[in-house]
Subunit: 287 residues, 4 copies
């Protein structure tokens, strides 16, 4: 996976006959060998979703023209919404962080071990604490302290930075500030957040305290795309761990942080593999 | 566990020095051999909890007097709230059920296999559907159809039945009616419910539909003691199972029902082992 | 799923270009609407696998001729191995059981609730204990007590019974006898067993005792197709539950039996959905 | 937990009456307030185990004399084996590592975030790769390349180093060399290893390849104390993650490494909390 030069198509459209056939025929006719294909029909919504990946080695259409040709030969006729990706194009990711280090360290450990095909040129933070960790790996660290008065101005500055660095998507690695609707609108389906509860339970602040107070026997973590509606965006990954009456809030935090970092990293990995489609505030996660 | 004739003490009191020492010294002095002992201190609340079980074989106090003696020698002085149980006293359980059979069948399968030390003399239902299953095992099945007009009257009839049958505790095995506050007050900490979500997410009706709509990646089941506050009582057991975008509501129901029956049966088992203490809407679940 | 009259194709062949395209084009050309399609390429083995399900409502080929036409138009040319199924054809299942009731009761509960599209006309057992449970649901119960001397003879009798009852597949619901290689050869990929450990750990007898002795922190259950090699057949489903030092062998059995019945029932469900393909002692489990 | 100055007693002895009573009476009599107490009786072996932690604030025996007094007043008479620890004594840990970084990075991230009460002065490796990561946190990194010819000599050098650094216990963070029986004998119950399978399945080399070949539906990780018998020591922690036919060996490695680091870190945490007792190749893990 990723070794080959492959093209990836993500498709969504109203369901009808002949969709898979049309797409696979297009790939086959032009000499592509399908490496992976997954389709899903949401029968309540009569909506069709598909992800397919094919080897470009003997594909007869030049890279730069695949999109146009797919549109002309298949997509327009069938009313498809689609995006085209190439497995050898390395996405550029920015990380937002505050003071908690566990998610950042987990991402950086993978980055350093070259586990992911990603470039991380930029960390943005409202605190200075984690500068050394980023800069030690050659990642620029920009301080952007936010107050209610300065938020709008800081966000403008951040948007400029993100553009300067050619950022494709953003990871909020336990970033403790709320981003404005306006900011989020610039990166639809491209801001991955981690929330420290199994949403929709315990949205907002201090979920471990709320979980302890409610006496739940499980705590969770949820990674989702940020939307204007706080902690209510489309969920990519969730997981839980069992807890007992013997666990204090401190214990919940300790156990929960292990979940947070793993769940967030799984979500990033799926995003990098172009496995995620969003439809009506839900995700289709292929693979 | 349960083979021996054992006494079980459940204790709760403000924390102070010497609590474990006083209780264990009492047991030791009178010839008891401790089979199991677990204690917990809620340090936020400075509250002490303990469960201990000891072999009665050579215990020098007669059964009928253990409570009095414990009170006189230990509990009064230390301000303990406590309950005393005997492992060879078989509790009597009533089941409430509507039309879903999976939880009832699961309980009856265990009953028939003698997995639990329990007597089940009575099933109460607002539907006739599951009569045969109960009566086939010699369990009386009482129809109690409930409408907003008749609820109060039916509940009075039910309370009389529960008393006639000497019922110790009640299991709501996917019973689809809401019990009144007044009814619940008759069985505090003695009505075990199963809710088909990981509470506090998706309380109330149709949680699988809500889960599907929200696009969660986990569904759950929660067993708790019923309180006046619907789906908000102290949680005994919870578990989850992973789901994907490919799962329809029907799939969630299918996967969820397996959870429901297992989670409910685990909660019943813990209740039967006298492993559960309730404090401020949370449970301490020993073992 | 299953409401519609649908055809299901399970395909396996050496990987090459145009496989998905050829199959979907065949379905599309004859008026079929694909409900579900999943494909997988084992790149180590260069082997292609596919499961597709399509609505027959407007399919232009008569049921009885679909196989022939698919062979002629697609399968022969591409060297495919394939099986064709219809979602409205109800398979007939036989259950083998000994004295443990939990798996049998779990299956019968689902049967009685009409959760599965299956017919269960026959239970075979080497013990009389569970006769009532089967016969209560109108299922014939055949005693077939087995000793080393009589095994061969009994298996011949069983094979005749299975044929008389037109049995499609067999479920060993904690059947405590070993079936001969010869017997198993009559039902390749059609005998589903449940083993009470996470295989390949603890094969053979008394896995809970072995697990306790080894001090593992997890116990498991594995459902697999029976092969001549005991407990080494292709695995369909596995799951585990955490255990602690406080759990005696009896506790492991209690916790494990809940796993066994759920894991076995999941495997049966997948088999009934025709979601399972076997290749080189491994399963491809679609869905 | 850990904020207070507390003493911790770990006790093991043949079961008899009055054990808990004697220990708690000793603590109470000398002014100690029990923070935590857990006991377990292995009824097959008639062996008693106990962990108790008490606040030293008003304890009347000086630290240096607690052991002697406990021995004289309680332990000798009752034939107890015991160890005494103090929560404010910070253990010193050495890490062995080869080339895989994920476990090391995970430990160092926690170290840097001060999540654990531990001192890590020393990393020993047979490869130079991870030197920077260690030295960046001020941890000495000693190269100790091992070949069959040099192993014995290198181990002698390592033992000297461990002594020089006053190391209390060792963590093998995916260290790919086998330690000699002689070496292990120097640190009984003090070498924590992580193995990348759910033991006892897939011991030895390349467990992910074996798991893939066997077609299991779960992969696991196991942390255990190293003993002379490879991968057969007492298990501290285990966990698993579900896998599918779509997962290649590379996918198993990716998913498995997340397990490995979390399972290892949980085991280290329990060791640091002095929650682990070893008896007959099994662990009692309190808490």
């Amino acid at each position: 996976m990723g070794d080959k030069h492959a093209a990836i198509l993500l498709i969504s459209c109203p369901d009808q006959r002949g969709l898979v056939s049309s797409v696979t025929e297009f790939i086959f006719r032009h000499g592509g060998n399908i490496i992976d294909l997954e389709q899903h029909v949401d029968s309540d919504e009569s909506q069709f979703f598909m992800r397919t990946e094919w080897d470009l080695a003997e594909f007869s259409i030049a890279r730069g023209e695949i999109g146009e040709r797919f549109k002309a030969e298949v997509a327009s006729r069938l009313g498809m919404q689609w995006t085209l990706h190439f497995s050898d194009v390395i996405p550029r990711m920015a990380i937002y962080v505050s003071r908690y280090s566990h998610c950042l360290y987990d991402i950086l450990a993978r980055y350093q071990a070259c586990d992911w095909q990603v470039e991380i040129p930029l960390v943005i933070s409202n605190h200075p604490d984690l500068r050394t960790a980023a800069e030690g790996l050659g990642i620029d660290y920009h301080m952007s302290p936010v107050s209610p008065q300065t938020r709008s101005e800081q966000e403008q500055r951040q948007l400029a930075l993100l553009q300067d660095y050619n950022i494709d998507f953003i990871v909020l690695a336990r970033y403790m500030q709320v981003l404005s609707e306006d900011f989020i609108r610039h990166y639809p389906g491209k801001i991955i957040n981690i929330h420290h509860s199994f949403l929709p339970a315990f949205p907002g602040a201090r979920p471990y305290h709320s979980a302890h107070k409610r006496g739940v026997k499980l705590i969770g973590a949820t990674s989702h795309y940020a939307t204007a509606d706080l902690d209510a965006g489309p969920i990519i990954e969730q997981d839980v761990v069992h807890v007992r009456h013997t666990d204090s809030v401190t214990d919940l935090v300790r156990k929960g942080q292990d979940l947070e970092k793993i769940v967030l990293s799984r979500a990033i990995w799926r995003h990098l593999q172009r496995q995620v489609l969003v439809f009506r505030n839900r995700t289709i996660v292929f693979g």
